[in-house]
Structures are given as structure tokens and as C-alpha cells.
């Protein structure tokens, strides 16, 4: 197996809702090695999205430690978060989160616009390449509202992989798709994984989960089960 990329210790996220405190995550210890393909499952409200958001540096834990590639993330200054989000992760949201009135191509190019390191030489070319990879070579100049749900999701996936990240985090990427498109998306993730990316997918669909190498089960903000899928 590869090296440890993600390690959390007693990761906790709680929300104060008036009098009561809602615990979205309770003392989660979670380890991910490179080149893993993990499916996270669990009932609605069990904390899957919360976990993924914290792993993707989009949200901060209330307490606990998050160590990314050996570095404690909580010790990062505010400004260091941006390059992390930009270089390490590709995030796919359940609700796509594409910029409206902006073409598919420009949406995919967006992470490269903010890439100060300039790791990708020709942003336009890379964005076209990523769109072709998700099978949207002929939809580059469509606006999001001119695309179907599945096509929008694929644009979002192209945006997540365009900056060639180490880790792709996908929150119910197939939630809005029919069975065959869902299968296509999973095949794409398997391909990317084979090429060396670490991928974590949140899903409710057991068939999708079966494509993963490891299935993590969540319940009430805790990890309740963690199984390797036998090949």
C-alpha cells in the first residue's frame, strides 16, 4: 500500500443551535492512503458531507486534528488554505456549483486561473482536455443552463480534475444522475484512481459503492464500519 495522505484524530464538528448542540461529527479517526478509492455511506444526516468538507479544507472542525500529507492543517494560516484547495483537491458538489452565465470551458478553467504556481502550462488546452475526458468535447461553449443535469455534473468533475489534484472529493456526484450515467461517472473515477489519484466518494447507492476498494459507513457522526472490498 502507499503512503498516508489523510489522517484525522478525534475530529469533531458541532453546531450550536439555540439551546441545543448538534454534533455533526464526533471524534472521528480516519486514515486514507494514496491511491485509495473510498466510498462513504450512511444515513442522511450522519455527517458524510461535513467530513468531506473538512477534508477538502472548505470547512473547519470544532476540535480534533487533521493531518494532510504529514502537515497539521489546523496550524495553517488563513492564506495557506487557498493554495491547498487549489493544488491538492478537486471537489465535486452534489449541487454542481457551477458559475452561472459562464461557459463550461471557463468553469473548468477556473481553478487554473487561481493557480499561482502555474503548474499547468496552457490553462485553455488543459480545460479542453479535461472536458474531453468526461465526454463533453462538443459542449465546451454551452452555459450551465443549456446543459442537462448529468452534463453539468460532468463539467463539475472536469473542473475537479483539471488541476491534476492528489485527491478528488465527490459528495454524491451521482445523486442527480440515472443509473447508466452514474455507472459512467464511476468508471471515470476508477480510471482516474488507476492513474494515481486518491478518490473519496460519498454515495447512497450500494452499486456505486461496490466499485470502490474500501467502504466506510457512518452513523451519527461516527465511523461505524470500515471494510476493504475484496476484488
Amino acid at each position: 500500500m502507499g503512503n498516508m495522505v489523510i489522517e484525522t484524530r478525534r475530529l469533531t464538528k458541532s453546531y450550536q443551535m439555540g439551546e441545543t448542540i448538534v454534533h455533526a461529527l464526533r471524534d472521528v479517526d480516519f486514515m486514507v492512503e494514496t491511491e485509495e478509492l473510498i466510498a462513504v455511506m450512511g444515513a442522511s444526516g450522519s455527517g458524510k458531507s461535513t467530513l468531506l468538507n473538512i477534508l477538502g479544507c472548505l470547512d473547519k472542525p470544532s476540535s480534533g486534528e487533521y493531518i494532510l500529507e504529514g502537515k497539521p492543517v489546523s496550524e495553517l494560516g488563513k492564506k495557506e488554505y487557498a493554495p491547498f484547495r487549489n493544488e491538492k483537491f478537486g471537489f465535486v458538489f452534489q449541487s454542481f456549483n457551477l458559475l452561472p452565465r459562464t461557459s463550461a470551458l471557463e468553469n473548468v478553467e477556473l481553478p487554473l486561473v487561481y493557480d499561482r504556481a502555474g503548474r499547468v502550462g496552457k490553462p485553455r488546452r488543459a480545460a479542453e482536455e479535461a472536458l474531453r475526458r468526461v465526454g463533453l468535447g462538443d459542449r465546451m461553449h454551452h452555459m450551465p443552463n443549456q446543459l442537462s443535469g448529468g452534463e453539468q455534473q460532468r463539467v463539475a468533475i472536469a473542473r475537479a480534475l483539471v488541476n491534476n489534484p492528489a485527491i478528488i472529493l465527490a459528495d454524491e456526484p451521482t445523486g442527480n444522475l440515472d443509473t447508466s450515467t452514474s455507472a459512467d461517472v464511476m468508471t471515470l473515477f476508477q480510471e482516474l484512481n488507476r492513474d494515481g489519484m486518491t478518490i473519496i466518494v460519498v454515495t447512497h447507492d450500494p452499486e456505486i459503492a461496490e466499485c470502490a476498494k474500501r467502504i466506510v459507513l457512518m452513523r451519527d457522526g461516527r465511523i461505524h464500519g470500515d471494510n476493504q472490498v475484496s476484488a
Partner: protein
């Protein structure tokens, strides 16, 4: 759409302020010209005491003015710079085919200096012309246009009430004054000529004079009063049998109106600016709130807070600049229209353009900047969840 609305706010703010202040400046300029047209430090003496008390004394022959009074003022009043009689007459004036009826005013050469009234063509008459009662005349612009359309009438002959006169020149246009009284609908001739050849008798109607300086207006008035009381043989206890008015009194009312007008327009302009400013502010605030999701998306793919700020600032600046430019263009068009098609005059001051543009731009930028900075500081996920 949103950017259109923002620009509209700026356009209205900018053009409102420029146009209002331009009209204010314009009317002040107009009033200043009117006051200048009255002459410099002018003192006017009417016969009769009447005006103040409301009842007008019958102007008996004794208390009217003669050329002797003028001479006396000229000799004895040290603070009076110029003094001219005015002998008022009028009637039909014939020039070839054309004829026109208007006032004919007999004055001395000092009159042109008191009134700041240069000639357009030809020349003023001289002291010698006055002494020799020469039958020469100067035409007001309106009269010249009526009698001699499209031509310089200098040297032509006219008949005033059948008395032949030679035209020496045409006076520069003075325009209307107060309630639309045309100052150019007049013929000026030597006072002696008008009195002895047209009107008859020995009395002059008015005395026009000017003080050496604005400060000495009151004292000069006093000098004239003393001289006239003496020549009219008034005892110490008796009231004046004449009335003296000076320019300050005449112009005070006008200046007062102009001040009120400027204040009013200034208020309207400030309101336009504030309304425009609030509009811009509102749209900027709404814009950032609406776009918090967009900010969340950008943050989640790795934009820095500073990237977001730069983007919003650039947009605010672009909007303010285009809005400001269109505002200036619009106000130029309106000001042109006002000058061309109405009797008001508008005068654009660069200062006002700068103030209004800077103000709207500052509001646009400030209110684009602060909410954007707040949104840029959010966790991406909170920005994405924002509604």
C-alpha cells in the same frame, strides 16, 4: 442587468449634480451680467419725494432738475465720478421706408461710462456734440435691427418726430432686464439736443451718477443730497423733494433671489447625489449578497480572499467609470438642451464634474468593497450555503 442598474444609479447621481449646479452657476452668471449691465456704482435721482411715503408729491417746476444742478454736482461733489442728465422723450423714428416708435433719451457723454455701454459700430457722441446741440443719435441694437436690418447704419439719416438726425453708431446689445424690459429698444442723443430740439422746456427728468467706488456710494449720495437741497432751497426741517436710489438697493433684491435660487439648486443637487449614492450602495450590497455563492465557488477552487477583492473592486471601478462617463455625457446633453431651447442658461464647472464622479465612484467602490471583503473571509462552505 445588475450592472446596468448600478451604472444607472451612478449616471443619475452624476448627471443630476452636474446639471443642477450648471443651472445654478448659469443663472448666477446671468444675474451678474444683468447687474453689470446696470452700470458701476450707479446712483439715480428721481424728482419727487413720493416713493417712500407712497403719496407722490406733485412735481412742481421748482423741485425738478436743471442742467445747473448737473453742473453743480460735477463741480462740488468730490466722490461722484460721473454724472449725466436724462431727458426722456420719444416718438416715431423714420428711416427711409422703415419706421419704429421708441424712447429717445437725452444724455451726456458720462452716461456711457456710468452704464458701461460701448458701441457696436461707429462712435459715441462727444462733449462738443452736447455743447453744440448737434442732431446726432446712437441707436440701440433693437432699433438698429428694425430700421436698418442687416447693415451698419453709421452715417445714415433718420427723422425723429420729423427732426433730422445723423446716426453716429449702434450701441452694444445689453439684453433684457428684470421683467423683460428691452434695454436696447432706445435711441440716445445729446441731452441738450433732446431738450431743446425735441422736447422743449428747461427741466431734465432724471440724474444718473456714479460714485468713485462701491464703498463711497452712501457718502456720494449724501453729497448729491446736500447739493440738491441747497439748489432747491429746502430748509433744515423740510423733507427731500427728490428720491435717491443707489445700485446696492436696486441689486440687493436681485442678489437675494439669486442666492435663494443657488441654495435651492444646491439642495436639489445634494439630494440627487444622495439618492444616486443610496442607489449605488444598495445595488452594490445586493450584488455582493447575491453573489456570495459565486464567491463560495471561487474560494472552493482555490481563490484567495485577495483575488475575490480584486475582482469585485475591478468590477466596481469599471461600473463607476462607465457610469460616470455616461453621466457626464448625459449632463452635457441636458445642459446643451437647456442653453439651446430654454431661457435659462447653464454653465458646467469642471469642479462639479470631479466632485460628482469622485463621490459616486467612491460610494460604488466602498460599498462594493466591504461586503466583498466580508464574503471573501467566509469559509467556502458557508459562502456556498448562503441564501
Amino acid at each position: 442587468m445588475r450592472s446596468l442598474l448600478t451604472s444607472l444609479g451612478i449616471i443619475i447621481g452624476v448627471s443630476g449634480v452636474i446639471v443642477m449646479s450648471a443651472i445654478g452657476e448659469g443663472s448666477q452668471e446671468l444675474i451678474k451680467q444683468e447687474i453689470d449691465a446696470l452700470g458701476t456704482n450707479v446712483i439715480i435721482v428721481f424728482p419727487g419725494a413720493g416713493r417712500t411715503g407712497g403719496v407722490r408729491h406733485g412735481a412742481g417746476s421748482l423741485n425738478r432738475f436743471t442742467f445747473d444742478d448737473i453742473e453743480k454736482i460735477k463741480r462740488e461733489a468730490t466722490l461722484v465720478k460721473y454724472v449725466s442728465p436724462a431727458v426722456r422723450s420719444g416718438g416715431q423714428i423714420i428711416a427711409g421706408e422703415n419706421n419704429w416708435s421708441c424712447e429717445v433719451n437725452g444724455v451726456s457723454t458720462d452716461y456711457f461710462r456710468i452704464k458701461n455701454w460701448p458701441v457696436e459700430y461707429g462712435a459715441h457722441f462727444t462733449v462738443h456734440d452736447v455743447q453744440t446741440k448737434r442732431k446726432v443719435a446712437l441707436l440701440g441694437k433693437t432699433v438698429a435691427d428694425k430700421l436698418f436690418p442687416d447693415k451698419d447704419p453709421t452715417g445714415e439719416k433718420i427723422r425723429i418726430r420729423n427732426v433730422p438726425f445723423t446716426i453716429l453708431g449702434v450701441l452694444k446689445e445689453k439684453g433684457q432686464i428684470g421683467m423683460g424690459q428691452d434695454q436696447d429698444d432706445i435711441v440716445l442723443a445729446p441731452s441738450t439736443t433732446v431738450l431743446y430740439r425735441l422736447k422743449g422746456g428747461r427741466y431734465i427728468d432724471l440724474i444718473n451718477a456714479s460714485a468713485r467706488s462701491a464703498d463711497q456710494l452712501e457718502e456720494a449720495e449724501e453729497e448729491i443730497r446736500t447739493i440738491l437741497r441747497e439748489s432747491h432751497r429746502l430748509d433744515d426741517g423740510e423733507d427731500d423733494d427728490f428720491t435717491i436710489q443707489n445700485q446696492t438697493e436696486i441689486t440687493e433684491a436681485v442678489t437675494e433671489t439669486s442666492k435663494i435660487m443657488t441654495l435651492f439648486l444646491g439642495t436639489v443637487a445634494s439630494i440627487a447625489l444622495i439618492v444616486g449614492g443610496i442607489g449605488i450602495m444598495n445595488i452594490m450590497l445586493v450584488s455582493v449578497t447575491e453573489r456570495t455563492r459565486e464567491i463560495g465557488i471561487r474560494l472552493s477552487v482555490g481563490a484567495r480572499g485577495s483575488d475575490i477583492l480584486v475582482q469585485f473592486l475591478a468590477e466596481a471601478v469599471a461600473l463607476s467609470v462607465t457610469g460616470g462617463l455616461f453621466g457626464i455625457l448625459l449632463s452635457l446633453a441636458i445642459v446643451f438642451g437647456v442653453n439651446e431651447f430654454t431661457e435659462y442658461s447653464a454653465l458646467i464647472k469642471i469642479k462639479m464634474i470631479l466632485i460628482s464622479v469622485v463621490f459616486s465612484a467612491a460610494i460604488g467602490i466602498i460599498f462594493g468593497f466591504f461586503p466583498a471583503r466580508k464574503a471573501a473571509g467566509l469559509n467556502p462552505i458557508d459562502a456556498l450555503r448562503h441564501e
